[in-house]
Symmetry: D3
Subunit: 318 residues, 6 copies
């Protein structure tokens, strides 16, 4: 368990001796005493710059630089510095240390949902158990087995913008389902089971698109294929492994995934052709846009009255 967090460093020359995640690496370069390199390191409270000064030990400096990768966790021994800007860190080859570690608590590095994950998983499984359409229900039970739920409940809903934290996907999906239930009350012509299923699977591809370790990052497959097509694949395979799944229902469920961005220029290869797909898109949009602006407000400097973007206000902060 970490004891030192970035947000707590306040002045130079404090001792640093704890774990931090590597967010970014800059190749080693010369400085007046020899070879150095710079990292961006992070934990769940923020990020800062770290300078490693290797002196004339060029080979060793390169070796240390190569001993870890972005997203790894390293044990840093050094001290704080305040060379230009906020409190940073510095490590000297001789007096300090950088060393990769394999054991750490993800919660120390990644922001996590503030909701109770166990409770959310129970709610989620309970919703599935109440689905009336037997085909939809057996499909969801087939996909969301215990193993998959482990991954699904840790996933983030995005790498930035909204719900960009561990458990964010599950939190977002549950919020969407609760809104969807109310929408169906107001518009009972909608097929509730199809809409709930859409909420559940619409972003299922995110589980593989985004790698969540000490930060949220895209996988190679994620960049090349994208979560919409990855989700389509996961659900189509699941359906095809079931016997006698109705063909039209298969098309409709896959269509919910493919069309949930609502328009081609927002990344949906097909646009909504079902009232439930229209509803899904707008419920997703509603929940994520609200979450996005609430996160912006929470993160903003409380002494400002307006959040500005390119000279124009985008949010009132008072």
């Amino acid at each position: 368990m970490k004891k030192q967090f970035i947000v707590d460093f306040k002045k130079r020359d404090e001792i640093v001796d704890d774990l931090f995640a590597v967010k970014n690496k800059e190749s080693p370069r010369s400085y007046k005493n020899g070879t150095m390199f710079t990292l961006t390191v992070s934990d769940k409270t923020g990020e800062t710059m770290l300078n490693f000064f290797g002196g004339d030990k060029k080979t060793e400096t390169y070796a240390i630089y190569s001993s870890f990768e972005v997203q790894d966790v390293i044990h840093i021994k050094g001290k704080t510095d305040d060379y230009r800007g906020p409190i940073s860190m510095s490590v000297n080859m001789d007096s300090g240390q950088i060393k990769k570690v394999d054991e750490f608590n993800m919660e120390d590095f990644m922001p996590m949902t503030k909701k109770d994950v166990i409770k959310m998983k129970e709610d989620f499984m309970s919703i599935i158990s109440q689905v009336g359409n037997v085909d939809i229900k057996r499909l969801l039970l087939h996909i969301f087995d215990e193993n998959f739920m482990k991954e699904y409940s840790k996933a983030a809903a995005a790498s930035s913008n909204h719900h960009n934290f561990g458990g964010g996907l599950l939190e977002h999906v549950l919020s969407m389902i609760r809104i969807a239930e109310r929408v169906v009350e107001m518009h009972p012509e909608l097929d509730k089971d199809l809409l709930i299923a859409g909420c559940i699977v619409h972003d299922i591809g995110k589980v593989k698109e985004l790698k969540v370790k000490t930060a949220i990052d895209y996988t190679t497959e994620g960049h090349f294929i994208g979560h919409i097509s990855m989700g389509q694949k996961i659900v189509t395979d699941a359906i095809e492994s079931l016997e006698n799944f109705p063909e039209l229902l298969k098309y409709k469920i896959i269509h919910m995934i493919l069309s949930h961005h609502g328009q081609k220029d927002w990344g949906s290869p097909v646009e909504p052709l079902l009232p439930e797909a229209v509803a899904l898109h707008h419920i997703d949009n509603l929940d994520s846009k609200i979450q996005n602006i609430l996160q912006q407000k929470e993160k903003a400097d409380k002494s400002d009255k307006w959040l500005m973007n390119r000279g124009w206000p985008t949010l009132y902060l008072d």
Copy 2:
């Protein structure tokens, strides 16, 4: 009470003797026996063409043509016809009649909400009575007195697209409020009273923008000023007639009205600067888009499998 409805005419030469609304007028023109004119007439079940044949009585034909306006109700005596296309009507100067009437049931001509209006009004007033913020509450009670509620509860939410029927505005607002309540449960950082107030007043200008008589039509003021600015005026005047209304709250409520279209190119002169304004825009969008597609589906020809638009499918109808 009307007895004959357009949808029920099935063949030519049936007797027509009932009230119909004038939807469109075409100026009188010549035909082989003299002067005639053509109207589009409507009731709540549909619309059809009517030909009035004046023979050589040109002056009288013009006089009859001028005796009523679009949106008026006329008593027609004539017969059905089937000259090209669906069943139409024809009236002969000598044997038939067209005469404006002033008394009629709006419900015979205008499609009306299928919900119970009295129940909706009760729900609406009950929601206002539960608003916690005293300033918002006294503002809403001030605006929504008995007189205003009469107009408000007859108003349509749009002239086409969605909720384009008498009582549609109230139905839409109540649906939005129920969704908003659920959204606040999921995102308790939102100011519920402000959001509910936004739902209630966002389209209040529609009451004056749209004239609802035998059809939904724009008023002169509606075209020139638009419901967003008309709503701003109604609510600003109400606020200014109250004592000691907090200035910042005044700006926020007006801002909810002005920004509820979400973007400038959708007609909002300012864009949402409050989380509640973001939520209001998306709740409005969600409810109206779902209603729109459900109305399209209900209206569509049931024998088609897809609703097509310029050669592309926009809705699956099965």
Copy 3:
């Protein structure tokens, strides 16, 4: 084999006695002598209107109307007519006949490629046999077995715009490959095998998206899923059935399919991230845009100097 083609009818009252495809159906309606319906019928030379007059035999007329579907072929006995506009057909219940048939030559109804299909298939298989990358080669050989080639070589590349005829997909793909080979000569940094594979599979989903029988029409799956995602599925399944297929290569090939529309607003869920994907998109665009304008020119009225669209010229025809 058909003997009468639509383009050859020149005047009214010619005898009609041959097979035609049903392109469109309008529900039966009344006329002065009873019940009638109207069809659009087609063969490879064009399309025209057909009126069926059932007289007072309403039930039988409805029965005949229901005895065939769009895309079916019917045997028509009647005569030509010229009631307003070009030569049409009419059939009388008593003297004529409409009857669905099951055996016909697709070539009589569907426009087909003017190229030699057998030669094109040989060229195509020869190209596959020359692919250097062993994984790409075994994948292509696995997909394009004899059975699949039967379907693939009959497919159209689009329902309108370009190569909208039987064999059009194969013709388009071969043209793209020949251009791609030249492009690789000029830009040898490109991975030729990957680019050729991209040309071959980019529209493979069209085989299932479009139903080609007596016309090109979208399947239900085609509308809901779209050819890009359907192609992704076909190729991913094929890859997963092979042993030890390199993972990165799998992502690249699927990426070629997904990104080949070049931009999100043109329907690609991901945008090109490989030089070969950029090349594929532009080669596809080049070949289809040229084919499109050449087809427009071929089809245009030769007596006009300019093809006009909404009052503006879009093509010089001289």
Copy 4:
């Protein structure tokens, strides 16, 4: 009256002892000798950076920092500095001083119109006196009384881009009126009085939208409501305080304000529906775009041949 202007400082270690406006504040931070903060200060000739070094007097430094706000004027005693970049200022807690003052000449800080404001006000009132339409005339005389003219003649037409200086609104409006008079000569079908009235009131909301003190800044109301809706309110209230103002004329004048941005995506909630509204929009556009580019040219570095923006030329400067 100020004697020292920012543009005149040329080297380090000059004595600074005069008034400057606070343009921006950065929260106090640590430096090697204790606590410091940085301001951006300005006068009408430009702006520069000021560093305040508080040494170990942290509390006092925070107190000084809190003793003034952005847009305030402060009396600075310190010296010039040239630490990186152009001439800046520095103040030492011990030897120097920062102190808010309440009396100052706005002209020392805000750029002001180069035109003669008294002459412009006379011209403006003379134009109103010549309006022929009695209703428009009494409305304008009612709004533009002596008190309002004081504010109106100090207002800026924008916070940036064009006429962004005190008196800029009046200068812009007079220029528009002179152009409008010529436009009416060339197109006598236009209603001159309505067009002149439109020029006069189109940006009247700017008087309240923008706060002009030592800089041009948006008010809270300005951000939430915007000058178009604020102008609508000012003029509607004025009209409603007059007796028997013609209703149609009221709609037209308000419409001129609402539609003067010309398109929804440029912030007009309704688009021009009158020839005079079309004219107003284009006259406004013409005058402001010319002023904008002339201001850019005046401000540009005279040694450059082209003004560049993201690598592309936007203005020839020779």
Copy 5:
């Protein structure tokens, strides 16, 4: 001189015996008695349909059809008809006649400016004579010699939208110059001579782009090259025929032509890089948009209150 104008025909079976312009031709087709064709004919008061019935004289009918072209003037002998819609004409092979004529007054067919052309030409030459810059002045005098003025003063400024009548170009240019003079008074930093020259030459290519005979039509060169590039060519050639014309001034004048549409997507290959080019674009836009809406208002049906476009009002007509 024509005596019969289309607008004056009021009923069927009036004798037609006068000249009309051919606006459109439809290829001959069959009718029950043989071969017929249909024309759209026009004069300055409007246009109507003409049916020519050739009976069984197929060859002669084709010969007559081929004896004239669109934009030709023909002498028609026939009578009026009212087969569906407004008053049309019909000509019988035996009793009537269609014959091309070569002599006619352009004014009978083409709408012409209502201004005095001789006076406009004098004003125009007087403006040129007052240009101060000697190079600009000798260029304009070189281009606008007597011959060119004949063409220039007959030219239209557009084929539709605004100033689409003979003399329209000159009328538009003079209006622009008068506005430009006022703009320079308000913004004396502008180079007046360059701006006036820009007004004069900006649309000079229209003289060759549009053929004005009995209607305004594009020439082949006009479609392929466009008036902007054609104007560039005319003025560049003129400059190159003068000795010692300053090179920078040459670039500026050509730039005024090329950039006067203001943006690439409005057809300018380069965007304005001079304050005068910015001014020219907006003056052109201002004058043409006002003229456009005034022409729409003049042409509109006076009994309507609003001009509608796709269901939305675009102009108030009262």
Copy 6:
């Protein structure tokens, strides 16, 4: 011949004594010892910063600053420096030197095509000699005489993005021609000679639009007129100097130049109206987009896996 290249400097205090091109100049400014100025200097291997320290010799420093211009080559005597960031240079008034030189090898400063220019010129002339259409052939032979070929073969195809090096235009045109030949094989309806001519002349204006000396820079004419209009002028003049050149062919060739950007918003004043113009646009697009992405890949940091742009991947680099 240069011996020292920017890419080879590795540490501070190396001796600099060689030629470099001036890429950018910043006006002289004060520093603690007097007057200095900063340049960006370049050669074909890259660019770096140079600081010139003039001490108290202000006048001489200004004189040296004014003795050369951007794009000039200067002889620098000084040493390397590493004040913040990569290796830069510094020159001292007393110990060093900056001196403009007039003789240098363009190849030392400008990146040049890697292809054999002599071979490319031969191929190019051979292609012209094989053109079948005699008018097109004599036009091309007229334009591409020995003198013009000297300029044409040194020209770049763009200032950035693709083929932005000496000889790039010729390399791009040859690549387009080879692709065009293949396209004509696949679509023999195209007019090969017209298409080849289009490839050859489409960017001919670049020869004068871009000045290629030690860098690629726009000329004054290039900014004001643009290469499309400049090319139109070159080719129109050439055609008009030939006798009896067919008028329609003239329009078509000029149209190929004007329309080759494909759309108005991409800078074409007219859009493609010929199949060959459609083909030309897409061949140009294909070749330049591939070249662009291959150049990006070549230039990218090889240790990155993805090329990122504003946080999104645009190219896979592995």
